[in-house]
């Protein structure tokens, strides 16, 4: 685990570097009389990002300092404080200090929070004065957390009350050297001065990674896509040649396509990061959340080497955080309850990732009480949802994804506000993923997220309607089968097909996409059974063309959203093919769910 933390730390440090650089440039390049709310917002955001990350890793010194910086910038943003050159100077000094402190953390050194006390005090001077008169400052002395009795104007001795202080005396300002009250710490820490001065050169030499704008990777992908198309043009040419030349041509082309595939894979791998980048931050979360809820929870992490697209990692943090908090808050019982039930006092959360085909599965399993079926149904009734006591477990569990749904009796600090699981579900669906719940009373609950490896590439099934080829994401296809005329019925105007004991509403892709495919008999077509979050629909197409990996291209970049289409791709021959938005497509069919699950009717046909 520690290694993964280390990796994640590196990301944080790299980000800090960027944010600090950004703040410094902003501060340096903006004349004081040209400071706009935008400038301050920019600074605020950078400080906030550093604060957020440092808080997660427990880098309290960084959090402490960025917190007051944030407060200062917030006041400036609200117009309570006017930015002055003095404030800018103080902020710049704070940036230097942040760099230094972050460098210490980066080298794995222990850092006391008091190390930044001086800078905090310097900033708080501005926060607590209503008048710019510096003499007034002594009136506002009890400002830092380390209850000093005596704060000089730029008191470097701020944290001196702290026991650890001699080791970390902030000696970087000339004032501190000339402060008579504390000669001892200064002497003791003089070797530290040298060390500190060396720090700058040390910390810059440590990164072995570069941060690359993802658009650069995208443009490489684009160019590769172009190469693939050129290659298929060449292949068409090759097919026109004959004799021994044709054979050589063919061989050379086979080589080319092999190399292209390899290149495509390695380009994609640039975007991939191990999920350890994601998982490593949850150790802290579990610890904090558990102690807040007075529970004992151990987090077990498996499969951290599984790789997933960087953008996915960014978008998965929030939903996973939420599920984990929920698991601790609602799933795992209090130690007393657990012992009473004959379980170990400490609950276990298993967070596991693995690859399955072209999907990444992330599972979160707790050994808690499991979802409470009765409670969920009761709550759903209160909310006026259509439920029945006979609903299968699977459908009951899905209710917790409804907006505003929460079974917690008390809204806690951690979760239970009812703004959660629906957002989690939507987040996962935005990533073209699905989320499933299994739960067994007193044994625990398992959340399973099935996600594509990347958003840039999609495993798709190409289907044909008329002359046009469409792509259906493979993840949303349950199966496909040939229609048999006698299994097609009608419910009102809606044709349905009986398959595996269920009636599925039939949706004609040709009709949806405005294509006049020849009025053919239903039974000539092929049904692709689609699984969307709310319903399953039998999509009627003319033909299946084949499975392939496709590069996802945005339609919105140069155009607008088109109904039933999520994006587009470029096929091997250079033509554009549309990727179907399965969620949207299935919403076009509205059929009362009872009809689809009518067991009586189904037995009639058997």
């Amino acid at each position: 685990m520690s290694m993964e933390i280390g990796e994640f730390h590196q990301v944080f440090f790299a980000e800090c570097d960027e944010h600090l650089e950004d703040m410094e440039q902003t501060l340096l390049n903006t004349p004081i009389d040209e400071v706009t709310p935008d400038t301050i917002n920019r600074l605020f955001r950078a400080a906030h990002s550093i604060k957020g990350g440092s808080g997660m890793f427990g880098f309290t010194a960084v959090t402490g300092l960025t917190h007051v910086m944030e407060t200062l910038l917030d006041s400036a943003r609200n117009g309570e404080i006017v930015m002055t050159t003095a404030i800018v100077d103080t902020l710049l000094l704070s940036l230097d200090e942040l760099r230094f402190v972050i460098g210490k953390y980066q080298n794995g050194e222990a850092v006391e929070k008091s190390i930044v006390a001086e800078n905090i005090a310097a900033i708080e001077v501005y926060l607590h004065t209503d008048t710019p008169n510096p003499d007034a400052i002594s009136l506002f002395e009890p400002i830092s957390e380390s209850e000093d009795d005596d704060i000089p104007l730029f008191g470097p001795l701020d944290g001196a009350a702290d026991d650890d202080m001699p080791l970390f005396a902030p000696i970087d300002t000339p004032e501190s050297a000339s402060t008579p009250e504390q000669p001892q710490p200064n002497l003791e820490s003089s070797p530290k001065v040298a060390k500190k001065l060396n720090k700058k050169s040390q910390s810059t030499a440590q990164t072995s990674t570069i941060r690359v704008d993802t658009t650069k990777i995208d443009s490489v992908m684009n160019q590769l896509g172009e190469l693939v198309i050129t290659q298929s043009v060449l292949r068409n040419l090759a097919n026109k040649t004959s004799g021994s030349l044709a054979v050589e041509f063919e061989e050379a082309l086979d080589n080319l396509s092999f190399q292209l595939r390899e290149m495509q894979e390695s380009t994609l791998s640039i975007r991939m990061l191990p999920v350890s980048n994601l998982f490593s931050r949850f150790g802290r979360l579990v610890r904090d959340a558990a102690s807040k809820a007075n529970k004992q929870v151990a987090l077990v992490v498996e499969g951290t080497e599984t790789e997933i697209d960087k953008t996915m990692i960014e978008h998965l943090a929030d939903p996973l955080t939420h599920i984990i908090r929920n698991g601790i808050d609602h799933g795992i019982e209090s130690p007393e309850d657990r012992v009473y039930k004959g379980k170990e006092a400490q609950g276990t959360l298993l967070l596991k990732a693995f690859q399955q085909g072209s999907s990444v599965i992330i599972q979160l399993k707790d050994d808690g009480a499991g979802l409470n079926r009765e409670k969920i149904i009761e709550k759903a009734r209160q909310k006026g949802m259509a439920v029945s006591a006979a609903m299968p477990d699977e459908s009951v569990w899905k209710l917790i994804f409804e907006p505003g749904f929460s079974t917690a009796e008390q809204v806690s600090d951690l979760s239970g506000r009812g703004v959660g699981m629906d957002v989690v579900k939507r987040n996962v669906e935005d990533l073209n993923g699905t989320i499933d719940i299994q739960s067994e009373s007193e044994k625990g609950t398992t959340f399973t997220l099935i996600l594509p490896l990347t958003l840039a590439i999609l495993d798709g099934m190409s289907v044909k309607v008329g002359k046009q080829v469409f792509i259906i994401p493979l993840l949303s296809i349950v199966e496909s089968f040939q229609v048999e005329a006698h299994l097609v019925k009608r419910v009102g105007n809606q044709p349905v097909v009986l398959h595996r004991d269920h009636y599925w509403p039939i949706l004609s892709l040709a009709a949806c996409m405005g294509i006049d495919s020849q009025e053919r008999d239903l039974s000539d077509g092929i049904i692709v059974l689609l699984n969307a979050s709310t319903a399953r629909v039998a999509l009627l197409v003319d033909d299946l063309v084949g499975e392939q990996q496709i590069v996802v291209k945005s339609l919105k970049k140069h155009f607008r959203t088109v109904p039933n289409v999520s994006a587009a791709t470029i096929l091997g021959d250079g033509s554009v093919s549309l990727i179907l938005d399965v969620e949207q497509l299935t919403k076009q069919v509205s059929l009362p769910p009872e009809i689809l699950k009518d067991d009586d009717e189904q037995s009639e046909h058997e």
């Binding site: 684009n222 172009e226 046009q468 339609l555 140069h558 155009f559 607008r560 088109v562 587009a568 033509s575």
Partner: protein
Amino acid sequence: MSNQNTNEALLLEYLTFRLGEETYGLDIMAVKEIRGYEKGTKLANVPEFVLGVVNLRGDIVPIVDLRIRFNVGKPIYDEFTIVIMLNINERFVGIVVDEVCDVIKVDSETIKPAPQFGAVFDMEYLEGLVTVEDIMVILVNIQALVTSDTFALIDKNNEEQERPQ
């Protein structure tokens, strides 16, 4: 147009094209390239004048037929049909017109007010009128025209949609 103080007149370059009976000119800086027409991928539930989308070196670009949109000329597609690829604020769009004619240099001082009638476009999209070699050229503000609601090429409240993400 009002810079009488400058001795050198401002020379503007326009690409001229024919649409119906009239000749129009559009700012050449908005033109990305000119290419032959290829049948794009048809889209459903879009206006008729949106012919479809094509692959422009990895970008998915919509093609609109101004002839259909403004109900002039004959929408014929053959080997002579030309698409003007525009780059408008980094959004690409291809437009199909009756004929692409020439690139003209226009002295900004010679631009006269746009005609009140005769053009297929609304007055608000016209920049003015010039006469080049006895041909009257109506200058079109192509940027305003293509991004206008009449084309619906851009999601409405596009910005609001993208902000929360």
